[in-house]
Symmetry: C2
DNA sequence: GTCTATAGTTCGATAGAC
DNA sequence: GTCTATCGAACTATAGAC
């Protein structure tokens, strides 16, 4: 009877787990995997150092769980948006790209739940070629990427596989760069271009990506024509 | 007389310096600043650990010199290309963007001189928001960025400052992502889209960027019209 | 679940011989 | 310029008391 209710310790431990993940997210984003330390994370989270090993065994698994927590949330949003869009037929390219890019950008701008630390983290490992980073990317993001690429080809049948993959990767790289919010836009424009207005940025990245994708489709068609002639 | 000729030790030391920079570049790219170790770099470069402190004092200055060596080379190319282009009047957007993006992409594809390690390194710190990375970016890349943004506005006067800064940052993020060559394109396309054909990639990124920039310019003009009406 | 204590590494940096 | 030797600090991880 009583044992089925959450015990005080269990509630606390859940809090501790989340606090560790939050602190680890900040540390990995700021210092990289190699530069972050279990000690520092424990101090930041307000827990004993040994607790991190109790909950997460070691540094590698902690890293994996930090990424899994956020990637799961974003990709669920993106999958749901795709389901909704294609339930009503084939959407426009603009609708499709907004469905794919908005959740990513919004998470990076979600200051309150620490999303911006994850933003910097995902930008970092998704652009890295070392084995750990590639494992994280392929494990957590390749499935939604494949589905997105297939969706783009439904919307724009002119895109061959190579062009569609490029179109997706280029678009995502733009979204990731605005997700990271390094403050460089404000610096280069003397404040005339901030990186905090979410709606403005979603609009700009969607417009930029869609125009770019159409240009890649044109290239693919022209190359095909050249071969036929 | 003899003292004006390079001494044997001086020649050797120059070799050692370069070997250290090469090894450090690989280590920082693969493991991050925090994850790389002076010991490992020394082993990789085939020099004594103490030599690194002799030549570079400490880890921070070593990092700075690694970046400075490559950034200087790329930016010299980009500046020269801009000089050449504008000497003959105002170029097309395509010519301008190719001048800006090609040196970046080609360095990432220059396997022989280790450029691909630097590629991964520059992608990593240019997308990071921590203080060290921001210092590196602003110190080594903000000047050419400002000049590029001004050049883009000359070619496309419809771009206001905010739109031009976005246009530049979005385009560069695409070029950086292909520069890093993580192998993801090949993975997602089952080999139908490689990330090694430099000319094909320059063509695709320039086409993607120019179309995206024109879309941003359209947005800026439309917003202006809305305010006027 | 929470903590202390500590084993066992590895790190950056320097001193000093040659 | 090059090397060995080493200091002092930080690190991951675990054992074991409570």
């Amino acid at each position: 009877m009583l044992s089925e209710l959450p015990k005080k310790d269990a509630r606390n431990s859940q809090k501790a787990r989340e606090a560790i993940l939050d602190a680890a997210e900040r540390a990995f984003a700021e210092l990289g995997f190699g530069g972050a330390s279990i000690r520092g994370i424990a101090r930041d989270a307000g827990v004993n150092q040994a607790m991190i090993h109790y909950y997460f065994q070691n540094k590698d698994q902690l890293y994996d769980e930090v990424i899994d927590r956020r990637a799961g949330a974003v990709n669920a949003q993106r999958n749901a948006a795709l389901d909704r869009l294609f339930a009503e037929g084939v959407p426009t390219l603009e609708k499709l790209m907004e469905a794919l890019l908005r959740p990513t950008i919004e998470m990076g701008h979600d200051e309150t739940r620490g999303g911006s630390a994850y933003a910097r983290l995902v930008v970092s490992f998704s652009n890295s070629a070392d084995e750990r980073s590639q494992n994280m990317t392929s494990q957590h993001y390749d499935p939604i990427a494949s589905r997105s690429i297939a969706a783009m080809r439904k919307v724009m049948p002119e895109l061959d596989m190579a062009a569609a993959v490029r179109a997706y990767l280029y678009s995502i790289s733009v979204a990731l760069s605005v997700m990271a919010r390094t403050g460089r836009a404000a610096r280069l424009s003397q404040g005339r271009c901030n990186d905090s207005d979410t709606e403005e940025i979603v609009g700009a990245t969607v417009a930029f990506s869609c125009a770019g994708i159409r240009a890649l489709a044109m290239q693919a068609v022209n190359q095909f024509d050249e071969k036929v002639e």
